[in-house]
């Protein structure tokens, strides 16, 4: 988990002197930008059906 721990340490470093303040403000604002709707259980179910069940059935049919 060091990479993850290292991540937190880096983020606490703060802005580096001399950086473009406007650019920093824009990039920092991304942290609080609204996000899209996440995957739901139903979406994983559809993925599982199309990506696992259907291929298994097809491969069984093709092998006969």
């Amino acid at each position: 988990m060091a990479n993850l721990a290292l991540s937190s340490k880096r983020s606490a470093t703060g802005p580096v002197a001399g950086r473009d303040a406007e650019e920093d403000a824009v990039i920092l604002a991304l942290e609080h930008a609204p996000t899209g709707a996440p995957m739901k259980r139903r979406d994983y179910g559809i993925l599982g059906f199309l990506g696992v069940v259907v291929p298994i059935l097809l491969l069984a049919w093709g092998w006969q």
Binding site: N3, L6, S11, V16, L28, A29, G36, V54, W63
Partner: protein, 468 residues
């Protein structure tokens, strides 16, 4: 800067920053249409014809669709949830695993995949136009070479104009191109079955199967589609970041880049088995005459231009993510970075490129499976999907959480190397001759992805014990 001016800057720089949620207004149908235009192109026939070397029509139907669905399942899991949640592009999704600078490796893979295949499609399109014009006696046989280059260059100009409005350009062309592809694809199926007959196609033997037995040929059929489908990874962010929920993207992704492109590829398989020629444009021209020739040309133009437009957009977006300098470039400069090399190749050495691109692309392909394995572990085991720090994707120095060691994440890069070695240990990516008996039980892409994921997991956990 005020909050509203910051918002304006973000909205105006969707080409280098995430697309704001309010602007992600593509529905499931639109993204499915755009993804179909990306997936269906002349390569569908090539891949279908190649599968016909190893398996017959029944086995080919099963292995092609199954391989494509399995491959797209992995691609969808690594890309759709994260790009629809944050509005980011494919290259950005690799920074947490490879590091801010290490993502250069992913950029090379993405850029080479997109530009390489674009060139193949554009050269193919130019040749197809010249060939049909020659058949219709519009040009002489001595002029086909020059005509092919001219039409290839014209295609690049068309791509440039369509992408002047960046991703929005794809929005307008996607639905039209996808509809044309579906209608003309259905016509090709009808022509194929009415000319050769379903029974004859399904009775035809594979062209040149491997002597290792039925299972190794069956697995080869799966692997061909699996490794080809993993190539969609490079295209995903450019399209699906325009969607505001993962649910809208899942079915679209699986049906267009999983089922859809394999379904068109089956035309190539059946053609190869029936007439020994995977490219249906050749026998359709002989069977159907000039009218059919024009329709085929329309299909190739729509399919190849559609794919190239989506790919160029993704390449320009990816290029714009890499460094502060590329991040600030104008859209036209980024577009030039994608189209400029294509123009040069088309003018200087199109023949040599077309004849040798296969070997290069085969080696690029073996890296995709490990990248996907690494991303699966990072997103679902390390919960990156929930914890992604978006500003860190756009800082290119020590402030980024994904700076790791000098900008590189050793765990991620080691995982890519190990996964690629496993792929080659199992299968020669150029000849598709297995290097190990294990291939017939495992495929090559799935163990390569698993190895990438396991090495990344071990590397990330192991580094915890060491001082930073």
């Amino acid at each position: 800067m005020t909050t509203s001016s910051i918002q304006e800057v973000i909205e105006g720089r969707a080409g280098s920053l995430p697309v704001p949620l309010a602007e992600r207004n593509w529905g499931g149908w639109l993204v499915a249409a755009v993804a179909t235009t990306a997936g269906v192109a002349s390569w569908s026939f090539v891949v279908g014809g190649f599968t016909g070397y190893y398996v017959d029509a029944r086995q080919g139907t099963a292995t092609m669709i199954a391989g494509a669905l399995i491959g797209q399942l992995l691609v969808t899991l690594t890309q759709v949830p994260i790009v629809t949640k944050y509005g980011i592009e494919t290259l950005g999704t690799t920074k947490p695993q490879l590091g801010v600078k290490g993502s250069l490796f992913a950029l090379i893979v993405q850029y080479a995949t997109l530009i390489g295949w674009n060139l193949v499609l554009i050269i193919f399109l130019g040749r197809a136009v010249a060939s049909v014009l020659e058949t219709m006696s519009v040009i002489g046989s001595g002029q086909t070479g020059v005509a092919a280059v001219i039409f290839s260059l014209l295609s690049v100009v068309v791509i440039w104009f369509v992408l002047q409005r960046a991703t929005r350009g794809i929005e307008y062309t996607g639905a039209i191109v996808a509809t044309g592809i579906i209608v003309l694809g259905a016509w090709m199926y009808w022509l194929l079955f009415s000319t050769f007959g379903l029974e004859a196609i399904f009775a035809a033997a594979p062209i040149a199967p491997n002597e290792g037995g039925r299972l190794v040929n069956y697995t080869t059929g799966i692997e061909i589609l699996l490794v080809s489908t993993l190539g969609w990874w490079a295209y995903m962010g450019g399209m699906f970041r325009m969607v505001n929920s993962a649910g809208k993207g899942v079915v679209s992704s699986m049906l267009s880049l999983g089922f859809g492109w394999a379904a068109v590829g089956l035309i190539g398989l059946y053609s190869a088995l029936a007439v020994g020629q995977a490219d249906p444009t050749i026998w359709i021209l002989q069977v159907g005459g000039p009218v059919a020739g024009v329709l085929v040309l329309v299909f190739v133009a729509l399919a190849n231009l559609g794919s190239s437009i989506v790919a160029t957009n993704a390449a320009a977006l990816g290029f714009g993510q890499f460094s502060p300098r590329t991040q600030r470039l104008s859209w036209n400069v980024k577009l030039s970075a994608a189209l400029g090399p294509m123009m040069l190749v088309l003018v200087l050495f199109p023949e040599a490129f077309y004849d040798n691109i296969g070997t290069f692309m085969a080696f690029i392909g073996i890296v995709l499976a490990p990248i996907i394995g690494v991303q699966l572990v990072d997103l679902y085991c390390f919960r990156r999907l929930d914890t992604l720090h978006v500003p860190s994707l756009y800082w290119h120095d020590e402030r980024s959480r994904y700076w790791y060691r000098g900008g590189y994440n050793p765990a991620g890069l080691a995982a890519l190397l190990c996964g690629s070695v496993v792929y080659i240990a199992l299968l020669d990516p150029i000849t598709f001759v297995p290097n190990s008996d294990l291939f017939q039980y495992l495929t090559a892409s799935l163990p390569a992805a698993a190895t990438g994921g396991i090495v990344y997991w071990l590397g990330t956990m192991g580094l915890a014990e060491k001082p930073v």
